[in-house]
Symmetry: C2
Subunit: 295 residues, 2 copies
Amino acid sequence: MDTRHMQYFMALAETLHFGRAAERMNMSQPPFSRQIAMIERTLGVKLFERNSRNVALTPAGEYFMKDCRNVLGQFEEACRDVRLVASGMKGELRFGFMMHAAHSVVPQLVQLYAESRPDVRLVLDERTPTEIDEMLVAGTLDAAVTFDCGYAPHLQTVLLARERLRIIMRKDHPLATVGQIGPEELRAEKIIAAPAATAPALRSAINSYFSVRGIVPHVVLEPRLQHTIIQLVAKGLGVALIPASLRTEPGAGLISRALTDAPQLDVVLRAPITTKNPAVSTFMEIGKSIQRTLL
Amino acid sequence: MDTRHMQYFMALAETLHFGRAAERMNMSQPPFSRQIAMIERTLGVKLFERNSRNVALTPAGEYFMKDCRNVLGQFEEACRDVRLVASGMKGELRFGFMMHAAHSVVPQLVQLYAESRPDVRLVLDERTPTEIDEMLVAGTLDAAVTFDCGYAPHLQTVLLARERLRIIMRKDHPLATVGQIGPEELRAEKIIAAPAATAPALRSAINSYFSVRGIVPHVVLEPRLQHTIIQLVAKGLGVALIPASLRTEPGAGLISRALTDAPQLDVVLRAPITTKNPAVSTFMEIGKSIQRTLL
DNA sequence: CCATCTGATACCCTGAAAGCATTGATCGTG
DNA sequence: CACGATCAATGCTTTCAGGGTATCAGATGG
């Protein structure tokens, strides 16, 4: 028994006429009759009550007809779907992103992609930049939005945005009224910044911002999560340099200021070049289409 | 593509090894490899990423695997179920019965059958005896409980119970205190009885109960439903002769009395002898097993 | 009783698919 | 680095599942 036999059965069950059913199956009546007999023999079940004049379904045949309709439908669907998956119209795409990006490019990217590929299940996964890099090489993620951390030959990269860092502090902070803020003004400040192990690109941008002026920043706290950094700044434990897109989130009692010669960071969309997931390519295309001018 | 191909695919998807997968399919590796290639060619989809050292599923293959597992499961189930239906263990049984029987044998019959054949869907259908006869010959019912109306060569019959008729009347009716009630006592009474067209066996039993004494019963009302008869008696519009098993339903202000030489009616379970529904036979067997002594 | 319709049988033949032998690519190891 | 081992792919042969044609057999209607 296989699906072809089920199709033979369905043809006869629907026409109740061997000749016409055979015709529908594009074959002549004698082999068709044999196939029906074969089906009944292998199942050990009489499916049709027939003589040389009439053909009728037995109750077992009636029941089998419903099941066959089901199975054949699912069968067709499976064959159709696998083509859709291969074409990237259907399937799953595991998408990682860092928290910074959640407030800027990610919503638009996700929305546009979901509109253009509604049958692809987007699995969102917020991670730190380091975790993202690891998961991209491990294949746990299909694509991710992160900071450009330079050389990555096994990854394809689309530049999404170029973000300047800004400084945030409490409103009652002495620097809140200073006109220009640069490395010199921050020389004595307590800095809160993510550790290099968690966000290498961000941290090295901050470090080199100071080091080109020969200044060693006074980093007092190194929380891993951006969320925590803002909380600590709000408590007055220091100031922090954060991407401009996070500025839109005002926070209670916090103020954000521009920096002189502010460090820039590239926000990129990345995916392994060796990816086998066909859904990725249009995801990258959409990334390109929403590429933004630098802020 | 058919289910055999899906089985090949599943074997490889689960083992990720052509040799072992072929072995599982009881064949040698070369034709197995060709079949896999064939599947990919007809689907137009690469399902496996492979070289002479490693075999891995593509994302499309991964997706297809889930669908195949589904389809193959349903396929097996359909083949198994059709055998169960043919053996009477599964399927549907359309069971008709008259309202009189609903209070006596039907509940027990239905319960016992449902316990012994839980996968057979019992479709219950309450009808008048005449409707039941028509539906049995039309094949709309598989089996039914009704009054024995005599000759029926195309039906198999199991006697379930033998019921005496009793008389019901209002508690304040003059006959309520009379010791013996027979045709003579009812000569002047207004009788309420179902029409012969609806319940021939019941009505002819009532008629002959009087006619053997040369009495013509004074039937004033002929409602089709037993329910209505009882209501009309309660309103004082007459008395009625009803099966003893209905006595258990007391009704407001009504009283039921035995009759002298009470007419008897056979309650039978019937099914067409030509029935193709394999579920019927055990239904009839259970009917035999609950055969009751006459009341 | 014959013409006709329809499903079953008899017989033949083709090609899908299985087996065997072998090739070619990729590792691991001495 | 060469050699052997492993494993998928390919070439060739063979077989039988399943299709085709011709025909039979039972039922029905004029």
